[in-house]
């Protein structure tokens, strides 16, 4: 399992900042996946692979959109950045092949969240520098939520996630288990990994995200005065506009395709 160094990550950020951006440049959506590969996840290795595979395959099919993929793995008591770069350059099968044969260790989810937040922030800042339009990120958490750290440490994280969901700053999808009464509740869209039809639910969820991300479903000016699409040269307003569409579409398609409410 290859862990990226801080130098490699900085190089990726540098590339983003210096990307040549023009009026025809497609917008960017950051995408972060936290993969819990600790000992308690041994039963769900197939689901982990399916999630990675389906996420990548479905989002790669979205046209006119750049995705920056960040994968943070939790393994042997540490959180590590396993991938940081363009989604189109990512080989899901090769990556799955590098995953450990056995899940091991504890679940330091707090440090993984902090890393995820930091890097997502850096991607969005890099887009500001390069003037590329950027939407709110997708944030996947794949875990059985059986945290092994002091639960008080999660309070700040959960408060942040809760505000992110309330104000549509992130689209949070948690792939968890149904028996997580004692586990952490992240407050996002839920997929249960331990159900019989989990594979189908995972596929439908990713399909929902694909449809939601497709710029074919973006809104046009309607018959009512207050609705209008901002001009593309207003980068901030247009990015916000695209983010709202993304959040709205995820809400609709997630329920429609998975049969589950948020």
């Amino acid at each position: 399992m290859n862990e990226l160094s801080s130098v490699e990550i900085s190089e990726q950020i540098y590339r983003l900042e210096n990307m040549k951006v023009g009026v025809m440049t497609n917008p960017r959506t950051p995408l972060c996946i936290i993969l819990d590969l600790s000992g308690s996840m041994e039963l769900y290795k197939d689901q982990i692979k399916s999630i990675v595979r389906q996420t990548v395959n479905h989002l790669k099919a979205v046209g006119k959109r750049y995705f920056t993929l960040i994968i943070i793995g939790i393994y042997r008591d540490r959180s590590r950045v396993l991938y940081f770069g363009e989604l189109r350059d990512f080989d899901a099968e090769a990556f799955i092949g590098t995953l450990p044969l056995m899940c091991r260790g504890h679940s330091p989810l707090v440090s993984a969240f902090r890393k995820a937040d930091t890097y997502l922030g850096e991607v969005m800042k890099a887009c500001e520098v390069s003037k590329q339009i950027c939407t709110i990120p997708f944030f996947f958490i794949v875990t059985d939520a059986k945290c092994t750290e002091n639960t008080e440490r999660y309070t700040g994280i959960l408060k942040t996630l809760s505000e992110d969901m309330a104000y549509n700053r992130k689209i949070i999808v948690e792939c968890v288990t149904s028996d997580n009464e004692d586990g952490v509740d992240f407050g996002g869209y839920k997929i249960l990994m331990d159900q019989e039809d989990s594979e189908k639910t995972i596929i439908n969820c990713m399909k929902a995200l694909q449809l939601a991300s497709s710029t074919d479903v973006d809104a046009t000016n309607g018959p009512f005065d207050q609705v209008s699409r901002p001009p593309k040269n207003n980068r901030v307003a247009y990015g916000e506009y695209l983010s709202h569409i993304l959040a709205t579409n995820v809400l609709f398609y997630f329920n429609n395709l998975t049969g589950r409410d948020a």
Binding site: T151, Y154, T155, L158, K159, S162, M165, A166, Y167, N168, G183, V184, D185, F186, G187, L211, D216, V217, D218, A219, T220, N221, G222, F224, Q226, V227, S243, H244, I245, A247, T248, N249, L251, F252, Y253, N255, N256, L257, G259, D261, A262
Partner: protein, 566 residues
Amino acid sequence: MKKILLLGQSLLSPQYETLEKSLPDFGASGDVIMIFTGMQEIAECIHATNRYQHLLAAFDAANIDTMTVDAFDLDEYLYANRDSEEDLYLTPTNAINPIISSVAMTRYKGNVFACIGYNRSAQSPKFQNVQPYAVNYLTSKSFGTKGLQREPINNPIGYRGLCHFMIGDQVYFQHIGEQRNIQSGQEGITFVVKDNPKWRVKIYDRPLYQFEVTKLKKFTEIVDDLPLTAIPLAVVYDEKDQPIGIVMRNFEGETINLKSFHQQINAETVAREIMKQVIAMQLYGIYHKDLAHNILCNFENCLAHVIDIDSTQYLNYPATTKSADKQNGVPIEFDNDLLFYHSIDLSYTMLTIMISAYMNPADLLGLYDDRGHVILDEDGKNYLREKAPHLARLVVAAYEEAIPASCAQQLAAINLDIKKRNEDYFNHVFAFNADEDEEDVKEEVVTSHQSNKEIEFPKLKLPFSLKKTNDTKKTDQVEHKVEKTEKKKTKEIFDYHKDEEEVVLPEWQKKILEIFLATAATSIEGETDEERWERFIKTGEYKKPLMYGIGCIVAIIVLLILFIFM
């Protein structure tokens, strides 16, 4: 400090439990709970008065301040405060899409945070700002009901073979082909279950979509909560265990006819029962798009039953049929077919039903003007003001000023009008029957007010009869002219201005219909000849045979020409 609006659906499980868990959080933050006027009556509609009282006590115990707002419903509140830009929080809801529709249609400018659950780790309620969604709802090309994934999940075998369903622990089998008294509908066939006339099976004539099947299964979870409504009791499966239909309660009654509803005895009371049922359905997340054709009335017992529930919008599942209630005169600013059906549209449908308890809506509601608002007939308005002054006030505001009147508001109005009618009757009784024991009559009227039941008219010596007749030209009906305006229709909607007499089809149309009526697909129970002809033309059933006929004639002509020249 947050201002949190208490929604009626928060009195239902599991929203109620989520709200109870959230109270310490609200108390600690010094939040204020805003309660609708008439919340007590709303709670009565869903038999949740105890829960409501318990909740009020819980607010006190948690030191949460409450205040009553001058609104009966969320839409009314949003519309009245649409320019405020204040953040508004809502108590837990069972369906977020109708709320987004309401925010969109009322143009509320502030953020609206819907409570979508409870985070047990953070021990706080989960809120989501739905304001950003409202804009997209209005304008997206494929968002909303238009963007549904319509992938069929089954291959129906048609109206034959064995079907089965499970209610409780028992499985029931029915042989479709052996049923008698099969009735055809727009979506398939229905028949009463053999040996159990309380149930009716509906078999669809088309494949079902996944979201439909999920929706139908969710309906079965609330069957006991709405006993007077034809909620699906179970999903029906064919021999290959594919879902092909539903089984529901079988109700008998007269299908409501809005043109002549007011001529029925107890029309007002039945209208009130319909309203209570619709409010209860709305709180459970059911929004019916075709009420005007799907209410069965029992005027003797003052009961009403709403049917055809399976195709309605339920929670976050859209309706499978388009809105047929387009004759409700909804102002153009609230009309949007792409959205999930919302309570403003529903309220206009209910308004026409309430009007029909007093008069033919066609005598009141005219065509659309240039603003996209329905023009009300002056004489009709005066008549309604005389018969039902509280309802009339809402009607005028709703159509002329486009100020929606929520279902709860209409219920309060009709309660007041019934009360007023009872009081007027009492005054008559007291004035003309001095030799009667006035205390007995007075007590009966007062008791009826308290129980909100209609009093039974005693046999009294009156100079005139109060009993309604079936005579359309009653003396108490005002003669008036319907103005045929030459104004350009901004939106064509009404055909209520058809003559009251049924149109007689010419013979040639009848002959053509006879040929096609042989197939079940063409015949729908209860349809008039005129409606059948319109549908026949609209669906284009004549096209295929016509093409075959023309094709044969051309082929014969070509053969003849070839024969002659060869």
